[in-house]
């Protein structure tokens, strides 16, 4: 009987989620398409979406793996440039039709390099992992800057900027990507694979002793994290229309890190909210843009001192997203049944 009552709310929850998602997607596209929302606000919304995906992807690495990769902007750059170069040079279909492929290519390129980087990097821990990923991020940036000289032809245009990228990013595909990212990450975490990943983070030696291949899960988590960063990069390229390696340096990695840390490393909802607020707020506070970075850093330090796990921080993924709340989270129910310990 218990099993049945647990199943129904979950299935019902999914129905609600799907309906909500469809409504937002189609409704949002309609509203923005009709011109009711200004160009300026649309841009902010798109940027929010991109930053949400970035934050979620880094959150995967920090919250799940318990590590601190500092080169995330590098993956974003790889996704952006791969997609941009593809979109600029391939013309068999109109840009709007090609863009899904561009996004996929961006994600896969970033995932591939992420996989390669993971091989040496994931053998290290803590500070060393942070530094080696920082190193790789910087190398990616320098390579993107100078590769044309090595290749002999213009590929990335380096510091001169890669221009004329079709601006195919719109509300529909951004929202879709955000939804897919949330869905994939959530369903992954709430599965035996997610449990295994969290076990690896919690106590690596114990996880190995339970038969879980830590190398496999760390690599998988890191690669998927890179994939979504690449997707965000591709969307960014289609949003801005112009790319330059200097926008993907250490500073950018730190910005993404700040977003994740403030939202709480290990909290999906935290990342979503944090990314939205940190994207929208500077636009609202245009007048104070000079102080934005100072406010960021100060905020970061203060939050770390007073609440080291982040504003919404918690390591337990069983809370958080709106979807989770709708699904009447099985383990939360369990907790109620379990009661207090002796």
């Amino acid at each position: 009987m218990n099993k049945n009552t647990r199943k129904i709310p979950v299935r019902f929850g999914y129905l609600i989620n799907t309906a909500l998602f469809a409504a937002l997607l189609l409704g949002g596209t309609k509203v923005i398409g009709s011109g009711a929302v200004s160009m300026y606000h649309t841009k902010v919304i798109l940027l929010c979406g991109i930053n949400i995906i970035l934050a979620l992807s880094l959150n995967l690495a920090t919250g799940f793996l318990g590590q601190l990769p500092l080169g995330h902007a590098g993956f974003m750059a790889l996704g952006a440039y791969s997609s941009a170069i593809f979109m600029r040079n391939v013309t068999i279909l109109p840009p709007e039709a090609l863009f899904p492929f561009g996004i996929l290519i961006g994600g896969l390129m970033a995932a591939f390099i992420g996989f390669l980087i993971g091989i040496p990097a994931l053998r290290l821990k803590g500070d060393y992992l942070a530094i080696i990923t920082l190193g790789f991020g910087e190398i990616i940036r320098v390579v993107l800057l100078n590769i044309d000289d090595v290749l002999g032809f213009k590929l990335t245009y380096g510091a001169a900027s890669l221009k004329n990228i079709p601006k195919t990013t719109n509300f529909f595909n951004t929202f879709l990507c955000v939804a897919i990212t949330c869905f994939v990450i959530y369903t992954y975490i709430k599965s035996r694979h997610g449990r295994a990943t969290l076990a690896v983070r919690d106590n690596e030696i114990a996880a190995e002793a339970c038969g879980i291949s830590t190398t496999y899960y760390k690599t998988l988590g890191f690669t998927v994290s890179a994939f979504f960063a690449g997707v965000a990069g591709a969307l960014y390229a289609g949003y801005l229309g112009v790319l330059s390696p200097s926008s993907f340096g250490f500073m950018k990695s730190i910005e993404i890190l700040v977003t994740v840390v403030l939202g709480g490393m290990g909290s999906m909802a935290g990342s979503v909210i944090s990314a939205t607020v940190l994207t929208a707020l500077p636009e609202v506070l245009r007048a104070f843009s000079e102080y934005r970075m100072i406010a960021y850093s100060l905020l970061l330090v203060i939050v770390m001192i007073f609440k080291p796990t982040g504003l919404m921080g918690n390591y337990d993924f069983s809370l958080s997203t709106l979807i989770g709340r709708f699904n009447g989270n099985a383990s939360k129910k369990f907790e109620k049944e379990g009661g207090k310990h002796e």
């Binding site: 500070d127 920082l134 100078n146 100072i294 850093s297 970061l300």
Partner: protein
Amino acid sequence: MSVFSTIVNQIMNGLQTGSVYALIALGYSMVYGIILLLNFAHGDIIMVGAYTAWLFMVNFGQTPVLAVIAAVAACTVLGVVIEKVAYTPLRQAPRLSLLITAIGISFLLENLAQLVFGAGARPVPRIFDMPSVSVGSVSLSGTAIVTLLVSVVAMILLNLLIKKSKMGKAMRAVSEDTGTAQLMGISLNKTITFTFAVGSALAGIGSVLYCAAYPQASPTMGSMLGLKAFVAAVLGGIGSIPGAMIGGFCIGLAEAGATALGLSVWKDAMVFAILIIVLIVKPTGILGRNLQEKV
């Protein structure tokens, strides 16, 4: 000029930059050895030193000597203040939080500098001007020789401090076992503060020497400099003082080599490639210690 003298000059260049890296790397190593923190803000302390020197010489019109003293003093004070305000409250926090705070402080310093002094580079007047020295057919830069001498002397003094002085012993004890050191009556706070002070003072000296070679101050100068010095510390073995020195010189020479081969645009990538190779092949560095987790 003969090829030989060009090579010698490049080597001198490498040793000069390497000395600066070494002085900064010493600070990184010392702090890591004692509280296991990668002090990301360390590089930016140099930036503060450079701006202080600039302030004293240009704004206040003081002599270079006074500017040097001011710069070193400012760095030392800043290092200690940061430690007390930002790192001490996090002594018990997870290491990740401490690392993030250090990154936050680094960011804060850079952006404050940008706000106050503007994003552009400010020329710093010559702190000292040394004539070139001729050895045989080769003309060596006087500045380079002074830089090299100063850093070697600094390292020797530091080594003496660590090995012979009471505080040095305390530092070594705390880096081995914090709990037991305290049980022996060593004041944890005083030792850590002292470590930061010495490390920052060395960074201050480093900033002065750096400005002697590259007389410019800009808000982000510390970050790349600090990162490279950090690579030097890792290369030499983080936690090891002679290691920091060796690492610094290696990185400096490697960069000089790259420039000599006309590959100076790849300098930064090369330094990070060295870091990656070290971390893969021998993460504890040339002279580093091994820390194994007990199962």
